[in-house]
């Protein structure tokens, strides 16, 4: 019945799924949270809890804010020795670096906007290169005041980078590991469908009352199959978004000359100056340019707000201003950029409509990055992400269930270790995320480097979960359930409720207020989701307690036909 092909697919699915599953779990879980990253930001930074704002006036609000930006000291120490040529003179002090580029970015879910500047190193080793040292900030567009920089936007600056790079910055290793896991996931999906063989016959099949191994496999198949398009397209488009990045070693070294030449050719083609001219020039009204861009979008039947604004070669005759449209009304991630000469405000170029291939790429990357305004689809993405989490988690449980009897007989450690790591990546990871939110509300607001403390609490909780899962893994060696599953579920319920209570106490934004008297859904949504999490955790803990009890009686291990039913895997 089993062909060699089936067996090799089963091997691939089992072992790639197991090893990469731990990484994929993080990608799926934090990806799911990232659907509402801006809402977590609001929860974590109470002084940014107001309505989303459009891109503010450049002339009145942005320009004075840009003037306050400074080059990052860390980047200065790191990049100055690389970019500066000591033969030409002493290094320019950090605060005397002239700004060369400004940008501002916002979305339909952002009350505050991200702004940044690229500062030019004047005495550079390679004058034709960009030579930028960056500085960025968060701006309250209502007042023009900068938001304190040492706070962490937990959604967009922690959960989101966790999703695509595990927050492991050393040599960007995290991004490469996630890329490898996404590739492995595509293989796991194909091999999984090949192994399943009853994709349609068992499309709706879930038999929770059967023994754990059967029920787990049902759930694994169900969550994998019904959301197969989601799983496939998110792994695929994730790879696509980073496709250019994964080639980093080649593009930065072997292909660098080609890349630089391409930039020059492209600049000639678009008419947008590639470098500074060296001739000083003033800046015309950027607000007038923005108004003109909006008029041109409206003329194309695509009226909209500005999502991204960028000023190049500041104060130079070659300076130009690029205005990009926010993509809140469509899937495709299109900027429809319009570029103006900075000194006069005349239009230099309108980005042409993309080619057919370009349109497909924009659709595929857009469906993953979701700049669109569609709350139902956002929640459906959350559902897809959670189905992915269940699929991976049940994969772990099935792996352990299938082997633990055998391992108990032979004293092998495999299933015990796999199970402990599964506890760490399933309940432990949720604990770390919720623990971070609790820390965010417990740590005093005025604490210096508050964001760093929150990061440490995240890793700390996760490490504790790992230690706990390993310490309590003894029963698995006797083919029983690790009580850490249940205990961490209880801990999760407690922490999730604590986060909601602490939010109400420290900010006054309790659910009665955020839902009824002064509705503010970004915060209410996070609070309600935390309460649902607590509810599910309590249900799971009680369910596990019931399952642990009969496990003391050896008779339940004798299922008459488990191997016949669960033949593959």
């Amino acid at each position: 019945m089993f062909t060699r092909f089936h067996l090799s697919m089963a091997w691939l699915h089992t072992w790639f799924g197991l090893v990469l599953g731990y990484v994929l779990m993080a990608c799926f879980f934090f990806g799911t949270l990232s659907v509402f990253d801006r809402e977590f930001d609001r929860w974590a930074l109470p002084d940014t809890r107001f309505e989303p704002q459009p891109m503010p006036s450049f002339d009145k609000v942005l320009q004075p804010a840009f003037a306050q930006l400074q080059p990052s000291p860390v980047e200065y120490d790191l990049q100055m020795p690389v970019l500066h040529d000591p033969a030409l003179g002493a290094p320019t002090p950090r605060l005397q670096l002239p700004p060369d580029e400004y940008w501002a970015y916002t979305t339909h879910r952002d009350p505050v906007l991200a702004i940044g500047a690229g500062f030019r190193v004047p005495l550079a080793k390679d004058p034709t290169a960009e030579n930028h040292i960056h500085g960025d900030a968060t701006l309250d567009p209502r007042s023009g005041a900068l938001v304190r920089a040492d706070q962490l936007k937990i959604g967009s600056q922690w959960f989101y980078p966790m999703h695509y790079g595990l927050n492991w910055h050393w040599n960007n290793l995290g991004i490469y590991i996630v890329g490898l896991a996404a590739l492995g996931m595509l293989a796991a999906l194909v091999s999984g469908v090949v192994m399943h063989r009853k994709v349609f016959k068992e499309f709706f099949t879930f038999r929770p009352k059967k023994h754990t191994q059967r029920a787990t496999l049902d759930l694994h198949n169900l969550t994998g199959v019904v959301a197969l398009p989601f799983h496939f397209f998110f792994a695929f488009t994730g790879l696509l978004i980073f496709a250019g990045y994964y080639w980093f070693p080649v593009s930065q070294f072997q292909l660098k000359a080609l890349h630089d030449q391409h930039e020059v050719v492209e600049a000639r083609h678009t008419g947008l100056p590639h470098a500074r001219s060296g001739v000083a020039a003033p800046l015309a009204s950027v607000d007038a340019m923005v108004a003109e861009a909006q008029r041109r979008w409206a003329a194309r039947d695509a009226a909209g707000q500005v999502g991204f604004l960028q000023l190049h070669h500041l104060g130079d005759a070659n300076g130009y201003v690029s205005v990009y449209r926010a993509g809140s009304d469509r899937v495709a991630l299109v900027g429809e950029g319009i570029h103006f000469k900075a000194s006069t405000g005349e239009v230099l170029r309108e980005d042409p409509a993309p080619s057919a291939v370009g349109q497909i790429t924009e659709f595929l990357t857009g469906l993953h990055l979701q700049h669109f305004k569609h709350w139902l689809l956002r929640w459906l993405y959350v559902l897809g992400g959670l189905l992915g989490c269940v699929c991976i988690a049940t994969g772990f449980v099935f792996f352990v269930e299938k082997r633990k009897q055998q391992h108990a007989k032979t004293d092998a450690l495999g299933s015990r270790l796999v199970d402990a790591l599964a506890v760490t990546t399933v309940t432990g990871m949720v604990l770390a995320a919720v623990g971070m939110l609790v820390a965010n509300r417990l740590l005093p607001a005025e604490l210096a480097n508050k964001g760093e403390w929150e990061k440490w609490s995240f890793w700390g909780v996760w490490l504790l979960a790992l230690v706990h899962a390993l310490a309590r893994s003894g029963p698995v060696a006797r083919a029983r359930i690790n009580p850490a599953w249940r205990e961490q579920s209880w801990a999760l319920a407690v922490l999730a409720v604590a986060a909601v209570v602490l939010n109400a106490v420290t900010t006054g934004d309790h659910l009665l207020k955020t839902v009824i008297t002064a509705p503010y859904w970004p915060v209410a949504g996070v609070d309600l989701s935390l309460l649902v999490t607590a509810g599910v955790a309590v249900w799971a803990a009680r369910h596990l307690a019931r399952r642990e009890r009969p496990a003391t009686a050896p008779t339940t291990n004798a299922h008459p036909t488990p191997l016949a039913e669960v033949a593959h895997g």
Binding site: F203, F204, L222, A227, V331, F363, L367, L377
Partner: protein, 116 residues
């Protein structure tokens, strides 16, 4: 507002379609109706057809609410959500799916005709 109504319609069509497709299957039919599936072959064939029509109709409803690129995504995710919901109902409250039968619940005219 019209968009919301179309999306609700799409959700209802996709859920009903998935429920009908499930009921058309031998195992699930007897699980829900507590009667042998062989006796209702014609009813189940009709249900399969209803299901096969409802799912594309759900796509049409999505297309009324949003531009096509967005509608396709909403539709695919609604299908996934509906399938999970139907599977969970089958696992925990199979009788609840009798509500999905177009011609009334158990013993309704459609069933009796199919069962006879």
């Amino acid at each position: 507002m019209a968009e919301a109504l179309w999306l609700i319609t799409a959700g209802a069509l996709s859920l009903a379609g998935m429920a009908w497709l499930a009921l058309a299957m031998e195992g699930h039919w007897s699980q829900v109706m507590q009667r042998p599936a062989e006796a209702a072959i014609r009813t189940r064939q009709a249900l399969r057809m209803f299901g096969a029509i409802a799912l594309p109709l759900a796509l049409l409803a999505c297309l009324q609410a949003d531009r096509p690129s967005m509608a396709v995504l909403v539709w695919l995710m609604l299908l996934a959500g509906s399938a999970v919901l139907v599977a969970m109902l089958l696992a925990h409250r199979p009788q609840a799916l009798r509500a999905a039968l177009p011609l009334g619940g158990p013993g309704g005219p459609g069933i009796r005709r199919g069962a006879s």
